[in-house]
Symmetry: C5
Subunit: 339 residues, 5 copies
C-alpha cells in the first residue's frame, strides 16, 4: 500500500518534514535496521579487538591500516552516482505507474453508445468490462508478485468471478506461446463489433469511439509488459550497489577511533560510538533503498503500488459504471443561479 | 494564493533578483524564522556554556568535541541530495498543476453544438456545467485541505448552489465504496446523450466531439486523484530530511567559536555571531522548505495553488460561457483593413 | 528581440564560441557592468582602508577577519544550486515559448472549408482571424509589459484596427470579473457555427475540423495564462539569490590581499587587482542573470521574446492567408521530372 | 536477451541489491574482467620494477613521479562527466525502445473492420500482417547486427516465409536508392484500400481507422531509422572515453605504494594490492560500460534488446490475431455477479 | 554528414569505446588541434622564459604568480557548468532533429485517397509532393547554411526542378514581408480541396485525413523556424565560454613547473611537458566543442545533420511514393504459413 503522507506536510510549518521522521511503516528505519545492526556489530567487533586484544605492534599496524582505509573513502563519489541513478529510477517508476491501465474511460464511452437496459445490452456491457479486467489481471499477474499470489491459477480467477469456466477454456485453447493478455481484449473488441452489427450500438461513430478507447487500454496493458521486460541494465545497478557497499566496507575499518594519545591528526577525539558514520550510513544506504524500492514498484514493499487494491477498485467502479449508472441522470431542473 | 513576482523582474536590471529579497509573503524568512530562532537559541546556549560555565578541563574536552563535529559536517553532501530531490519534487509539482482540469474547452464545444436558447437547451447546458464543476469539487475536496474546509459536507455544496438537493441524494444513493467523483461526470455524459436523442444536438459529429472533450476532462480529474495517491516515496523524503537536520545538529556544536588563544588551526577568529553558519542555515533549510512547500501544492501555504480561487473562476466562466456567450457574436462587418 | 547568434557558430572553428564574447547586445557585460562596478568600488574601498588607514593592531584584526571570511566562502556550493535552479528555469522558459499560440493552422483549415470569394465568406474569414488575434492580444497584454505598453487600453486596439468600436463594446458588456480573453474566441466559434448553418461550410467534417483547431488555439492561450499565474515558487528564487549575493558579500572581504610579509599561507602574493575573484563574479553573477532573464521571457530584455514582432507577423500572415491565398494555387502542369 | 532481475529485488530486504552482485550474465564482472586483468598486470609490472629492479636514485625519481601523477588524478572529475553523459545515453536508449513498432494495434482494428472468414478476407488480413512484419524486418536488418545475421539476404526472408518469391521480386523492382522499408507498408495500404473498394471493409470509418493505425506503425519504423542515423555526437563519446582511460593510465603509476620508510605523507602504508584503486576501477569503468552497452541497444550484448525474440513474438501474435482470434468471442452469458 | 559509429561498439568488448579514439572525422582531435597548438605555444614560451631568460628575483616573483594562479584554478567549477549547459544543448539538439518534417506520412495517405492513374490525378499528387518539398526547402534555406549555398536563389530551385517558372512567379507575387514558407503549403491545401471538389478524392473522410497530415507537416516546418528563432540565450553561452577560456588562461601560467630545488610543496617534480594539463585541456575544451557543434545542428560540421542528403532522400521517396508505388501491391496469394 502506498504511504500517503503529504497531508501531514500540506502546509509548511515549524519542523515541517521533521514530523515525517517518526513514521515507521515504509520508513527508512524499517528498511535499514537490519543492515545497520550488522554494520554496528562489525564495527564494534573491530573496535573491541583494537582496544582490548591487540599487542602494541599490532595496534600500530592496525592504526596505519585504518588511516589508509579512511583516506580512501573519499575515492568513490557515491553521492553523484546515487543522485544520477536514483533520478533514472524515479523517472521510470513514475512512468510505470502512469501506464497502469484504467478501464474508466472506455466504459464511459461504452455506456453512452451501448445504453440499452435489456438483458442482451447489459450482458454485452458487463462482458466487455469483465474481459477488460481479465486482460489487466493477466498482465498484472506477470508483473506483480502480489497479484500472482492472489491469483496463482486461471481457476482462481474463475472462482473470483471475473470469467466463467467456459471463458477460461476458450482462453486456454488459444494457441500462442507468448503472454496472451490480448486474447480477452480481442473478445471485448468482437463483442463491441457484434453490438454494432446487431444494432445495439446505433452509429459507426459510436463503434469507432469505443474501439479507440479500447485500443488505448490495450496499449497501456502492452506498455506494462514492456516496462517489465526492459529494466535498467543490470550492470548499472551493480555498479551503484558495489560503490555503496564497498564504501561502507571501507568505513567499518577506516572510521575506527584511534587512541588520541598517539597524536594522529584527525584522530584527536574518541567518542566510542561513530555517530556521524552511522548518520552517513543511514543516509547513503537509505538513498540506495529508495532505488531498491522503486525499481520494482509492483512488489510488496510498504510503499509499492497496491495493485490488488487497484484491481478491486477497478472491478467495483467498472460494474457500477456499466450497470448502476448507465443512462442515469437526475431530472433536468432550473438550478440555483437561474436568472 | 500563488505569489506572482515575475513582473518585478520582467527586465533584468541592477540588483535584479535582489529586490525579491524584501518580500515577506511566501518568503524564505517567513517560512524559516521559527527554525532559525531555535537554532540560534541552541547555539547561544552552548556558546555561553563554553565561555562562562565550563572548567578548563571541560573546555578542552568540549573543544575536541567541537573540532570532531566540525570535521564531520562535510561528510554529508546535502547540496547534491537537495538538488536531485528538489528537481524531482519540482517536476511533480508542475505536472500536478498542468493536470488540474479546466472546463472551458468542453463547454466551448458544447455551446457550439447544443446552442438552442429555449429553456430545455439551457437547462441541459447548465446541467452539464454544474455536473462538471461538482465532479471537480469532489476531487479537489479529496486532495486539498482548503477546499475541504470550504465544503466539508455535500450539504455545503448544495447550499453553494452547485447541485440541488435531489441531485445530492441521487449522488449519495450510488453504491460504490471508492471515491465517486465520476458519478456526476457520468450524469453529464448521459445528459449529452439525451440531448442528441432529443435532437438538441443535431449531428453525431457534435455528440462525439462533446463526449471526447468531456472524457478528457474526466481523465484529468482522474489524474489529480492518481497524483494524490502516489507521492514521492516516504523513504526518499525521510533520507533528505534526516540529512539536513543532522547536518545542522552537528553545526550547532561544530561551528562554535573556540578560544583563539588556544591556537587551534581554523579557530583563530572569534566573531561571537556565526554569520556564515546562519547563512548556510537559511540556504539549505530554505531549499528544503522549497520541497516542503511543493510536495503538496494544494495546501494552504502562501505559495500553494489557490484552488478555491480557481473553483470560483471556473464557476463564473462556466456560467458565462453556457448562457451569456452561447451563440453570440458581433455583427459581421467590413473591418479596418478591408481593401 | 531575441538575439540570433547561432549562425556565427554554425560550424566549429578555431576559437568558436570565443567570437561570441565580443557581442554587446544581450551580453553578460551589458547585464553585469553595474553590479561589477559596485563590487569593485566596495573592494577597492576596503583594500585602501587596509593598506593606508589602519593601525598595526587594526590590520592584524582585519587580517583575521579576512581569513575567516575566505575560509567560509566555500561553505555555500552555489555552482550546484545555480545549476539545478537554472535547469528548472530553462525548462519552463522553453515550454512557455512553445505554448505561444500561432493562428496559422486554424486559418489554413478555415480557408479550405470556408473558401467562398463573395463578401460574406470573406467577412467571416476575416472576422475569425481578427477575433483570434484579439484574443491573443488580450492574453499577451496580461503577460507582457511590452504589449501592454503598446496597447494600454481597448481603445488602442480598436485604433490599431483589430476590432471595431461595436465589437469593443460587445466585449466590454460581457460580464465576468476574470480575464475575458475567451470572449472573442467564443465569437469566432459562433461565426464558424453560423457559416455552417448558412451553408458556407459545406460539411460537418469541415465544421468539426475548424472547431478543433480553434479549440487547440484557445488551449494555448489558456496555457499562456497558466504559465503566467504559476511561477517558480518565490522561496526557491530567494534562496538562490541569497546564496549568490551573500557569497560575494563574503568575497569583498575574504578575497582581500594581505601583506605577504606577514607570511599567512595562501596570502603570499599581492596582485592588487583580484582578477580571479572578478572572473568568478562575472561567472556566477552571469549565471544568475541567465535565470533572471529567462524567468519572465515576455519582458523587455535584449534577449526576451519579441512578442510585438510576433503579433505583427501573425497579423500580416493571418490576413494574407484568409484573403490573398485563399483558394489560390498555380495551374496544374507536368513538372520537370515528368517521365 | 534482456536480463530480468527485478523479481529478485521485488521487495526490499536485508542485503537487497547485494544479491544482484553474484550474477554473471550481463554483469559488470563479465564486461570488465579483461580490462581489469590488463590493469592489474601493468600495475604489478610497475610495482615489481619499483620494488626489485630500481637503484636508490631511480627509486627516488620514480617516487616523485608517482606523487606527481597521484596529485593529478583528481584533475579530471570523471564522476560528473560520466553522470551527465550516461543520463543522455540512458534517455536515448529508453526512447529507442519505446519506438520499436508493435503491429498489435493495427491488427486489432483490422480484424474488427475486415472480419470476413472467407478466403479472400483472410488473404487480405494475412497479407497486411506479413507486409507489416516484412517492413519491420527491413528496418531491423538495417539497425541490428543480430537481425542482419539471421536474415542476411532477401532470399532468407522468403525462405522464412514472410514473403513469397513474387513479392520479393516486386520489392526489388521498386526503384529508389534509399532504404525501402516503406514499400511493403505501401502495399499494406493498398491492400486495405482495395478491401474497402471491394466491400470487405464496409465503412469509410473502418478504412480510415485502419489506415491511421498503419500510418502510426510506419512512423515508428521511420523513427527507428532516424534514431539509428543520428547518434550522440562522436566527440562527446570520445571526450568521456578519453577522460576515463587517461584517469586510469595516471592511476597505474600514481597509485603505486611507496616505501613507508621514506616517510612521504599519504604513503605510510603498503598493502601491496591496491584494493581501493581496483574498486574505483570497477566502479568508473563499469559506469562507462553502462554507456557502451546502451549506446547501441540492438547489438548482441547480454543486456541488449533481443530483437529476434521480438520478431518471433510479433510473427506469432500477428498470425494468431488475424486468423485464430478474428471475430471470436465466448458466448454472452450472465456473469457471476449478475444480480 | 552525421558520423555513424554505433556499429563499431554494437557489442561491448575489450577496449570498447577505446576503438573510437582512433577516428579522425568528427573527432575531438580534429576539432581541437588548433586550440591545443596555441595553448602549447603559449605554455612553452612562458616555460622557456622562466627557465632561461629571467633573473633570480624575477624567477621568484614569477613563482609566486604561478602559485597564485594555480591555487585559483579551482575557483571555477567548469565541470558543473559544462555538465548543465551541455545537457540543455543536447536536449534542444535532439528535439530540433525530431522536428525536421518528413513528407512520407502525408503522401501515404494522399496516395490512398487520391489514387487515380490518369494524368490529372498524377499531376495533383506530384503537385502536392512538389509544393511540400518546396515549402521544406524554403524553411531549410533559412536555417541551414549548407542548403542556402546549394539553393541561393529561387531560380536555382526552379532549375533543380522543384517548381516551374510560373510557380516561382506566383510565389514571388504573394505579398508578405515575413518568411513565406507557408505559401506553397497553402497551394498544396488548395490542390487537395480541388481534388475533392472534382471528385478525385471520393469522400470527405479522405479529404479530412489528407488535410490533417498536411497540417502536421506544416506545423513541423513552423517549429523548425521557431527553433531557429529562439536559441539558448546568448548570456548563458557567454558565461560558459568565459569560464572555460579564463580557466585555461590561468592554467597557462599556473601549471608551469617550478624549480624543484626551491622546495615549493606540490612543485617537487619537473616533467617539462604538462601531460595532465593537456589532458584536462582536451577534456574540457572538447566538452565545450560538443556544445559548439550541437548548438547549430544545421551547419557544416562533420557531425551536423546532412540536410542536403535528407532533401535528396525526401525528393526521391516522394516521387517514388506518388507515382511508382501508388495503388500497387503484389497479387493476393496464400502465404507460406497458410494452414
Amino acid at each position: 500500500m502506498t504511504i500517503i503522507y503529504q497531508y501531514r506536510v500540506a502546509t509548511t510549518s515549524l519542523g515541517g518534514f521533521l514530523k515525517l521522521l517518526v513514521a515507521w511503516r515504509g520508513s527508512v528505519y524499517k528498511l535499514l535496521f537490519k543492515e545497520t545492526l550488522i554494520f554496528c556489530l562489525l564495527y564494534a567487533a573491530l573496535s573491541l579487538t583494537y582496544r582490548l586484544a591487540l599487542s602494541a605492534t599490532q595496534r600500530t599496524q592496525m592504526e596505519r591500516l585504518v588511516i589508509h582505509c579512511n583516506s580512501y573513502t573519499n575515492f568513490i563519489p557515491i553521492s553523484f552516482v546515487l543522485g544520477f541513478y536514483v533520478t533514472v529510477v524515479v523517472g521510470r517508476w513514475w512512468q510505470q505507474f502512469q501506464n497502469v491501465p484504467w478501464p474508466d474511460r472506455t466504459l464511459f464511452v461504452l455506456c453512452t453508445y451501448l445504453n440499452g437496459q435489456e438483458e442482451r445490452s447489459r450482458m454485452m456491457r458487463r462482458g466487455v468490462a469483465r474481459y477488460m479486467l481479465f486482460g489487466l489481471l493477466l498482465i498484472m499477474r506477470s508483473v506483480s508478485l502480489a497479484v500472482m499470489k492472489r491469483f496463482p491459477t486461471i481457476d482462481t480467477i474463475v472462482e473470483a468471478g471475473f470469467i466463467t469456466k467456459e471463458e477460461a477454456e476458450t482462453y486456454e485453447q488459444t494457441q500462442c506461446r507468448y503472454l496472451k493478455f490480448w486474447v480477452p481484449l480481442m473478445w471485448a473488441n468482437n463483442v463491441i463489433a457484434r453490438a454494432r452489427r446487431e444494432g445495439f450500438i446505433e452509429t459507426e461513430f459510436g463503434l469507432r469511439m469505443v474501439l479507440e478507447q479500447l485500443a488505448d487500454y490495450r496499449d497501456k496493458c502492452s506498455l506494462c509488459f514492456v516496462y517489465d521486460w526492459i529494466t535498467i541494465p543490470l550492470v548499472y545497478t551493480q555498479v551503484v550497489t558495489l560503490a555503496v557497499y564497498s564504501f561502507f566496507a571501507a568505513c567499518v575499518l577506516g572510521r575506527q577511533f584511534l587512541d588520541p594519545a598517539k597524536g594522529y591528526p584527525d584522530y584527536q577525539y574518541d567518542s566510542y560510538v561513530p555517530v556521524f558514520t552511522l548518520l552517513q550510513f543511514t543516509f547513503y544506504m537509505g538513498w540506495l533503498k529508495v532505488a531498491e524500492q522503486m525499481i520494482n514498484p509492483f512488489g510488496e514493499d510498504d510503499d509499492d503500488y497496491d495493485i490488488n487494491w487497484l484491481l478491486d477498485r477497478h472491478t467495483a467502479v467498472a460494474f457500477a459504471l456499466v450497470d448502476q449508472c448507465c443512462g442515469v441522470h437526475p431530472p433536468l431542473v432550473r438550478d440555483h443561479f437561474w436568472d
